[in-house]
């Protein structure tokens, strides 16, 4: 973005101009996340409804209840912000914003299109893995400061789960970084240009195909989605780490969850499914952001689809799956990619 501003002004403008543009980009991303979040919440409810032979929200706004999320958002904004008297005030107030900040910051490096990227970091994927770890801290803060046993159980489960599943997720992304030779998200997408068989998921068959599966499953676990929703587990833990939250702070958790869903789907799109490329060169006139968002939303839809299909795993099954299945396979994958690179002379 800096180079783009320099180009726009034909030189190096003052720091104030940079700041203005940065704040503008922040506001735009925030608006985008809010709209996306509300859209995804509505979509989730519609998908849930129809998968259960219901109709979901149907009244608010006319067409299939499209304004339901807006109405719910207003309601949450106007509600009382209850803070338990025995809660740790500072941590309790900060936690939802920290969780949201974790996923919000990661949006900075997403390449929406060939040239549409806010911060073109050369360590983009590393940055995302690092900054999304804030979510874990936020969840633990929320659970601990609530001074509620359900919240604490939820937070502990959440942290154990997210920390465990970051390993297979990171390992499968490391294989991609090895293959591309860059941690820049734009470079990763550019190495998949052209036909869809250049997408990593096909290009690196079978290793990247398995890697895509592993990344996607780990992403489900990291976003606390079914079947890995044991930190929330409403039938066991009320609502998990956000049991005590209400009003705007609860809305922040909710928004962060859906922003995270989109984020991990976007990373899967970038790493395995060709980012902003359509996969059919004659369709490349379609603007990159549209292709990118469509692909990501499809992956989000699969998350919702899975949510209404699978039951929740037990804690031991969850850990079993991570440490006995996902991590060994992810390592195997990484080594396999290394061997393929040696054989093809890419190393």
């Amino acid at each position: 973005m800096q180079s783009w501003i320099d180009q726009l002004f034909g030189g190096t403008p003052g720091a104030l101009v940079y700041l203005t543009f940065m704040l503008g980009a922040c506001a735009a991303t925030l608006a985008l996340i809010a709209v996306l979040g509300m859209f995804l919440i509505w979509l989730e409810r519609k998908v849930a409804g129809h998968m259960q032979s219901r109709v979901g929200p149907i009244e608010v706004g006319g067409w299939h209840g499209w304004a339901q999320s807006i109405a719910d958002g207003f309601k949450l904004f106007l509600k009382e912000d209850v803070i338990p008297s025995a809660a740790d005030q500072l941590l309790f107030k900060m936690a939802p914003f920290l969780v949201f900040a974790g996923s919000f910051a990661a949006f900075a490096v997403l390449p929406w299109g060939g040239k549409v990227v806010i911060a073109d970091l050369n360590i983009g994927i590393f940055y995302i893995l690092a900054v999304t770890s804030l979510v874990v801290v936020g969840i633990l803060m929320a659970g601990w400061s609530s001074n509620n046993k359900w919240a604490l159980f939820g937070a502990m489960r959440g942290v154990a789960q997210i920390v465990s599943y970051e390993l297979p997720a990171a390992l499968s992304l490391v294989a991609i970084v090895m293959w591309v030779g860059s941690m820049n998200l734009g470079d990763i997408v550019r190495s998949q240009a052209g036909w869809f068989w250049n997408w990593h998921v096909v290009q690196g068959f079978p290793f990247f195909t398995i890697g895509a599966f592993i990344y996607y499953i780990s992403a489900l676990a990291e976003t606390n989605r079914v079947p890995f929703d044991i930190p929330e587990a409403e039938s066991e833990l009320v609502a998990g780490y956000h049991t005590e939250y209400s009003g705007i702070r609860f809305a922040m958790f909710f928004l962060a969850e859906y922003a995270n869903m989109f984020l991990v789907s976007a990373i899967a799109t970038i790493a395995y499914f060709g980012g902003w490329y359509t996969g059919l060169p004659f369709l490349d006139f379609i603007p990159g952001p549209i292709v990118f968002v469509t692909k990501s939303l499809l992956l989000v839809f699969v998350m919702m689809w899975l949510r209404w299909t699978l039951p929740r795993l037990r804690v031991d099954q969850l850990m079993n799956m991570c440490w006995k299945y996902m991590i060994p396979i992810a390592f195997f994958n990484m080594i396999g990619i290394g061997v393929v690179m040696l054989l093809r002379g890419r190393a």
Partner: protein
């Protein structure tokens, strides 16, 4: 099976069963919803559904059988015999009306929906509708008033009610009912038999009317506007009580 074999078998089973489940949910996603959008759509009640009671007051002869049949005493009725030169006309099935019905109140709060009152009703005027939305903001809303004929001036309703109704907590007279309120609400009324067109209740009354022997008075003065079209008044004069006979055991 070796440990390694079961390891890969686990992976295979996990993935394949997830796909089976996803196929099922996708099938449901594409299938239409089965829920009823309640305030916009209402369930069609089945034929023998016991909803709110309704009295078609123009067919009520004031015989009081329903009051006696009611196990919970929810019907309050005040009637007065017709004068010698008065004629209230016939009911739909040809029974002469010999009593003024000044009060016919059903306290729905007491009603237990046993259907006994409609079974004894000789003229099939008391019936159970398909109306199941019985909530009301006022207590009065549950007292269904059906009598539209106002009592003559100076008539002591309170005294007559106490004399005629030996029931616990009878309902005080609250004036004649608004005839408009007696119309059965559109759509919520029992759609009468599968097709929604066939009016089993009126059909039963019409069947009764065919075999009814009309009242002598009706033969003399067949000009009553109240007599429905299907009640033809043949010339031969017979005992009026016979008209009621076939109606026994009617109702549900």
């Amino acid at each position: 099976m070796s440990a390694l074999g079961s390891y890969f078998r686990n992976i295979y089973e996990a993935i394949s069963t997830v796909f089976i489940g996803m196929r099922v949910t996708m099938k449901y996603l594409k299938s239409p919803a089965i829920t009823l959008q309640y305030p916009k759509e209402r369930m069609v009640m089945f034929e023998r559904f016991r909803g709110l009671l309704h009295n078609r007051i123009e067919d009520c002869i004031g015989c009081g059988q329903c009051v006696r049949a009611c196990p919970v005493d929810c019907i309050t009725m005040v009637t007065v015999k017709v004068g010698k030169d008065e004629d209230l006309g016939l009911t739909r099935d040809g029974t002469p009306k010999k009593l003024h019905v000044y009060q016919f109140d059903i306290d729905t709060l007491k009603c237990m929906w046993c259907n006994l009152c409609t079974e004894v009703c000789p003229t099939e005027c008391l019936l159970m509708t398909g109306q199941y939305e019985v909530s009301s903001y006022q207590r009065d809303g549950w007292n269904l008033r059906f009598a539209i004929e106002p009592p003559p001036p100076g008539f002591n309703m309170e005294e007559a009610r106490i004399k005629q109704n030996r029931i616990a907590n009878p309902v005080s007279y609250a004036g004649p009912a608004d005839p408009a309120s007696l119309a059965i609400p559109e759509g919520s009324h029992r759609p009468i038999s599968g097709a929604g067109e066939f009016d089993w209740r009126n059909h039963r009354v019409a069947e009764l009317a065919k075999t009814a022997k009309p009242h002598a008075a009706a033969a003399k003065a067949p000009t009553e506007a109240k007599a429905p079209a299907e009640t033809k008044a043949p010339a031969e004069a017979t005992a009026p009580a016979e008209a009621q006979a076939p109606a026994e055991g009617g109702g549900a």
